[in-house]
Symmetry: C2
Subunit: 220 residues, 2 copies
DNA sequence: CGACTGCTTGAGAGTACTCAAGTACTGTGG
DNA sequence: CCACAGTACTTGAGTACTCTCAAGCAGTCG
């Protein structure tokens, strides 16, 4: 019954913390997306760099046969949309009403000091994304459904620090992220509650129990 | 019974193809490792950049509870050992007698033109590694054991182009790479043969049947 | 030849999946 | 405010796939 060992799964992607109040706002454009709206599409040309300002974003990949994989979720401060080749290998959609900073990558060199700094940050973000992917692989191969779901919920709840947390994503999103089916996710959510680790208020509002948090801190 | 759809899993990591005859040899040191020998350790400081010249290399991560994950295999031309933080998050071992080019990353700036090029290449390699990790995640969550093993064998056999190919890694390595147990890998290898897709000569020498290759090319 | 390591095969168990209802929440129109 | 539809989530029963445990086989080295 390990439920907190994988709190380390999500490496912090926000380079300068989750406070997007940086001098970069001058460079890119602020765009607003409604819930479910597509930010960029798979196979689309990729010269843009994105950063979440407000809200949350889901990155999705589709296999030819329709199987879906959620590559990651992004929150304020996180960079996303980084690609090496010229094309996006996944699409990104807003999970809720989201504000996104969009920066043209190829234009960075015309922005002097700030452009250089941002370019370096985008490389760092790529590296962090790689770490995240590697951690996630570990989770996908070596953890049970219960461990995956409870660990995921812990990560989401961590910033709330004991207060109520909100799940921006659907059960299906979580399932596609954790490599499970929607039914299994649902069952594990129920089990997490049955074991008294967390409490839910509706399907998308939950809280980690005090004694669970203590146990996890002690383990770490 | 899809067995070739995941040939695309392994994105080519060798930036300039698999021919390591580049002007970089002047910068780094050539090191030789015996089979099983450790190239670098998990949690070790990471300022070095590695490139396979001859042989093959395995990258491994260990969980606290002993569960093991093979992060990837590297062949001549491939870069490995790239890290963002100051520490290696995985270890690397030689699978056979291997020659590796080792370059001090922080020294790159003293090598002028070539150093700059190499630095850029190392960033590109990070990006490719990320693509690879993302593809691999897709495989781990959305493919059956049979698909994983047959796809893996296809990738390994691809360069041989119909001739006999050699498996440098053990069944356990394959299992830890594909997120399966050693027994399941073994069973799938048997099944791949039973279905007439490939033939094995001993445990580590195999060949893809002609009609299988045709079918896969047609599918792609 | 025997010991060792790596691989294969078998039987049974367990976990997650599939299919199928049933329940809760959300928004719309009366 | 309620009825309704639609979507999202939960729960149940049965199945299938992979794992675990255990034994047997094959190649290698002393």
């Amino acid at each position: 019954m390990t439920f907190c060992t994988l709190t380390r799964d999500r490496a912090p992607t926000a380079i300068a913390g989750r406070t997007p109040q940086d001098p970069f706002d001058a460079i890119g454009a602020h765009l607003r997306f409604d819930a479910g709206e597509e930010i960029y599409a798979q196979d689309e040309d990729a010269d843009l760099l994105y950063r979440v300002l407000v809200g949350s974003v889901r990155r999705t990949r589709l296999l030819e046969d329709g199987r879906r994989q959620v590559g990651g979720f992004y929150f304020p401060g996180d960079f996303f949309g980084l690609e090496i080749g010229g094309q996006h290998r996944s699409s990104a959609e807003a999970l809720d009403t989201a504000q996104v900073l969009v920066i043209q990558r190829s234009a960075l060199k015309y922005h002097g000091e700030v452009g250089v700094r941002l370019e370096r940050m985008s490389w760092l973000a790529t590296g962090l994304e790689l770490q995240r992917a590697q951690d996630h692989m570990m989770l996908l191969t070596r953890k049970s459904a219960f461990e995956r779901v409870s660990g995921f919920l812990f990560e989401i709840a961590a910033p709330a620090n004991g207060a109520w947390a909100h799940l921006a994503m659907s059960r299906q999103d979580i399932a596609d992220y954790l490599g499970l089916t929607i039914e299994t996710v649902s069952r594990m959510v129920s089990q997490v509650q049955a074991e008294g680790l967390m409490v839910f208020d509706g399907a998308r509002r939950f809280r980690v129990m005090q004694h669970t948090r203590r146990a996890c801190l002690a383990a770490a």
